[in-house]
Symmetry: D2
Subunit: 364 residues, 4 copies
Amino acid sequence: MAGNTFGSLFRVTTFGESHGPAVGVIVDGCPPRLPIAAEEIQRELDRRRPGQSAITTQRRELDVVEILSGVHDGLTLGTPIALMVRNQDQRGGDYDEMRTKFRPSHADFTYQKKFGVRAWEGGGRSSARETVGRVAAGVLARKALALAGDVQIVAWVRRVQDLEAAAVDAATVTTAAVDANIVRCPDAALAVQMIALIDGARKAGDSLGGVVEAVARGVPAGWGEPVFDRLEADLAKAMLSLPASKGFEIGSGFAGTELRGSQHNDEFYMDGPRVRTRTNRSGGVQGGITNGETIYFRVAFKPTATIMRQQQTVSVAHEDATIAGRGRHDPCVLPRAVPMVEAMTTLVLADHALRHRGVVGDTR
Amino acid sequence: MAGNTFGSLFRVTTFGESHGPAVGVIVDGCPPRLPIAAEEIQRELDRRRPGQSAITTQRRELDVVEILSGVHDGLTLGTPIALMVRNQDQRGGDYDEMRTKFRPSHADFTYQKKFGVRAWEGGGRSSARETVGRVAAGVLARKALALAGDVQIVAWVRRVQDLEAAAVDAATVTTAAVDANIVRCPDAALAVQMIALIDGARKAGDSLGGVVEAVARGVPAGWGEPVFDRLEADLAKAMLSLPASKGFEIGSGFAGTELRGSQHNDEFYMDGPRVRTRTNRSGGVQGGITNGETIYFRVAFKPTATIMRQQQTVSVAHEDATIAGRGRHDPCVLPRAVPMVEAMTTLVLADHALRHRGVVGDTR
Amino acid sequence: MAGNTFGSLFRVTTFGESHGPAVGVIVDGCPPRLPIAAEEIQRELDRRRPGQSAITTQRRELDVVEILSGVHDGLTLGTPIALMVRNQDQRGGDYDEMRTKFRPSHADFTYQKKFGVRAWEGGGRSSARETVGRVAAGVLARKALALAGDVQIVAWVRRVQDLEAAAVDAATVTTAAVDANIVRCPDAALAVQMIALIDGARKAGDSLGGVVEAVARGVPAGWGEPVFDRLEADLAKAMLSLPASKGFEIGSGFAGTELRGSQHNDEFYMDGPRVRTRTNRSGGVQGGITNGETIYFRVAFKPTATIMRQQQTVSVAHEDATIAGRGRHDPCVLPRAVPMVEAMTTLVLADHALRHRGVVGDTR
Amino acid sequence: MAGNTFGSLFRVTTFGESHGPAVGVIVDGCPPRLPIAAEEIQRELDRRRPGQSAITTQRRELDVVEILSGVHDGLTLGTPIALMVRNQDQRGGDYDEMRTKFRPSHADFTYQKKFGVRAWEGGGRSSARETVGRVAAGVLARKALALAGDVQIVAWVRRVQDLEAAAVDAATVTTAAVDANIVRCPDAALAVQMIALIDGARKAGDSLGGVVEAVARGVPAGWGEPVFDRLEADLAKAMLSLPASKGFEIGSGFAGTELRGSQHNDEFYMDGPRVRTRTNRSGGVQGGITNGETIYFRVAFKPTATIMRQQQTVSVAHEDATIAGRGRHDPCVLPRAVPMVEAMTTLVLADHALRHRGVVGDTR
């Protein structure tokens, strides 16, 4: 499988460089007869868009999506759905230094080393701009997923640097609460502090990282495959494929390793006709397959590599050099990572829903 | 892609239930003319084997590997290599309760729910016994990888519950040091404490979790693919596909999110003719592609679900019930997880080495 | 995808060399809860087996199948089903010349050239013995297919050299009629002539080719995918992957190209509630998707490459040489190709049935 | 794998309906640093374009290709190359009848049956217009293939109805000779007759089928994989995935089945240092792997389904009906099929070249 395709039955292939003509995606395997309008995709792209608030990068990307194929009279056809967004804000001038020097902790050097050539403006293919296609595809995946039940996927900013919103209730948190503030943390009081922290970093020309948490509620028991395509394995891959991500944990995660088995196990009980677990340290998956409890996991995002400070580096000609930060930067990727995490979660679940239906024959 | 296959060009498909006739693997895409003997595979299987020491489960698995195909006169043929290990220790009597009740935090319930049928003895397909095939395949992957240079892959137990070997030097740690004690922690003093801790848990009928760390040294720059098959994404998937794993982090991981960009970025410098980074918070990958620095990451393993205590659960007939622990159990999966983590790391790297060579044409 | 795997959701991976320890297959993606017994697989393997009649090769292969995994209490588990057949009749003595010389129109030279090594006894991986795994997997595929309706797949020998059974009725031909004689041609009178023809070739140390025809009746409309995985494309690949096959045609095939559109088009009409076509030159597929009419196609098999005559060739050491035919040979592969063609047809249809159900949601 | 993707390492995914906004392709896995200009792609699209001569459909498709990604300063980047062609000639008026009635031997009915919805104008996804993406991708594949040597791929019209150009020399035929006339038959005298035949069919409102032959010269020995991805299997799939194709044969094909083994086998000899075969009934592949001889095969194309005559059919509402031919039609798809066959051949070979290099390590 080539590296720009994700999924088995519900399958997306993204394309595009940061400063090339366009970015986009082909969605293959989307069920037919789903109603879809460009506006629905647009709405989600706007959540991902830079320049949407004071604390994100000011790069203005209008990000107008065009549906090129696969939709007829407002319904999906069952054929590949190609979605394209033209790149518009190509401020080449800002980027001259990128041509001759490798930016620290960016992918400039590794792309050059791998391919012997690179689209040096703005990171090219390694730019977060690539995620436009993922977020667009996620809208279709959400429609496909709706065929299998009322699955709710919500992500939010759990932590910025050391400000942690530990009290958010995964069972009830809503997208409305997440989008109620520009940092996308549903803890309103903490959100104010996070915004101040990010704004401070922005003014200091520095950047911050943090953690996004996500839940999927209403996923039926039985999705996920033995053994390599365990649901958590596909989620981990999905999340680690996002720019700037450095870690993934599901359920009790790293902290759970400090418990004993007698403390950690999720005991079963009958809740009317339904098998439930009293605790949910498993995070909704056991042996790679969903058990009907809420799926929840966390993703670590490093501080943005682009900072407005002078750093040591080397040139393309292999000489030691310094590189200055200038122009615009995104001091914290976390708020914009929220729709990306949601999109990737949706892609994983939609694919597993279809796979389960294909082989086992229902979605229970 | 079906769920029991891993990899693109170097591809493994495992089979087998814990108490069925056999477990094994087909390796497809292994380069030809590699010398291989069953003994080499056997040696690695013995590292994975239960009953190898006082602190692992006493299930005796002789685990004698047989090469069924793909090897001729001691050389790989370029055709599929099938490896099989017969299951021998089928103590059905111990397992009667598994037939009628779901063990907490095992996959009994989810397999039953997904498939409507399950091999109830000992976890069937969800048993760690499935990893026999992975470990066997890893030996071949290591040979394939050697074609691309001197890549050294070493994993070890970094933490058991709260006992953490934080001082192990990733640049120099060796397999010999890891295998010098039964807990596979190269910090000898801490190893003694870990063994005592595990032994205590065993006696208490309880279990422990922890963290395995792994390094890959000598990986050339340029491996990994944009964008979904970033090397760290494939590593994350590989690790989260292991039984009992709950988290993955690469480089600075979750802790790194508390740094600022100015603290976190890895500055480049020229080390003679070679581009290096002064720090390695990236963990050897930038934008999903290796940069020539050491790859290192950590995997969280939950405490073993099997404990020797009575727990609440439900029966297959959907009645509340209690389940007793009895017989043998593995109080801590960590020591045996070490060869599994190494095997999966090797599979990921071998596959990416071949993919890089296929598309770009060398392995630099 | 590696070359020894076939299918998307219903997926088979075969392994084994002609004279290695074993041949076999892993079936991944087989629906759960299908009853299966080794005897059912054995029965089909016996149809494929050499030495079954006077007109096939006298190599005695007992071909006893063993189910290694994926089946529990006689039901499929939804996990990988590994099937193995040990190789038994290893008459190495007959094969000495194969080590040093390339047999004309065999794959000895190409395997050596590709891999730089080969299992020289009896063709190794390129031997028709590899199809044991396919035929075994086909039995499971037939069970999976039965979930989607009463699909009947029948293949038969249509032509041996120039003896053509043109009058067989694709609408009614049965496996019983096919298996009623050893040449597997349901035209009893012609079968007698074919057997005599083959027997003559055998005595002359020569070999014959011919054409196998196959039908699939009862396939619902709607299977097959745009655009590369058109049903006929996957059938063509399946058939051309069989040893000794040189051509494939569906429906009107090559002969249909001599008609005009006005003669060739299949007009629609209503047959009660069902849309039917008055003719079926399309062969049951239009635009790659089944239309509910009978699928039928033909496969060309060249005369067996092994003959009992002296031929010019070259040695492994790159010197001109002669090679003598001796020992046993199969003067005509056609009778044994019948179960192979049926197996591959079944694999294609089962996979498309599951894919259709996965993405579109039913099998209509 | 989803149905709109072809290839393993060199991988194309096409999108687009006949009368939707655009058609196109993403090429993933194209080697980096290949020079490519839109004009080169355009030139090949012009060979495929309708309306290019008096004997093809008069639908005017300007087919201006735009490179959306993956190319920088005229060089491929190693990232996905998205190519798009806007649809322009949307004569909806001509197509009204298509909305309510199924055209005989088109895919209108099967798409409706499969998906429950369809882009009824002009065949939608099943239109030959989809092949724009394949032909465009073929230009990149040809560049990738050039890395492996001087491979020449030439296809031509061998037969129109019963007019057969049997004397074309596969060893020497050139694209220049093929393109020297509008029917793309390198036998100039026969081409005149073919043109007259097609023109007659056009005037009669009827259509013709025929056979395209193709050769690939200069392919090194060793490409192709055991056992399902035999080179001829992948070629067969590629060809049967083309609209209107009904058959494929390689080397001696169906006719070869009338020979005896002693007549059919290709004897080896040493030609200086090189192993050659005196005859080439194998068609350049033995056991699925190339032997260094010329690859040649033939593809059957049925007469175009669209004719200018009244035909019996049924309506979408399931009533018997008649459908009139009107407007424009393509009386013979053969001339335009030539670049399609070449493109698909190139895609197959490029993919196998990369796969061979990836696993075995060179291209000899």
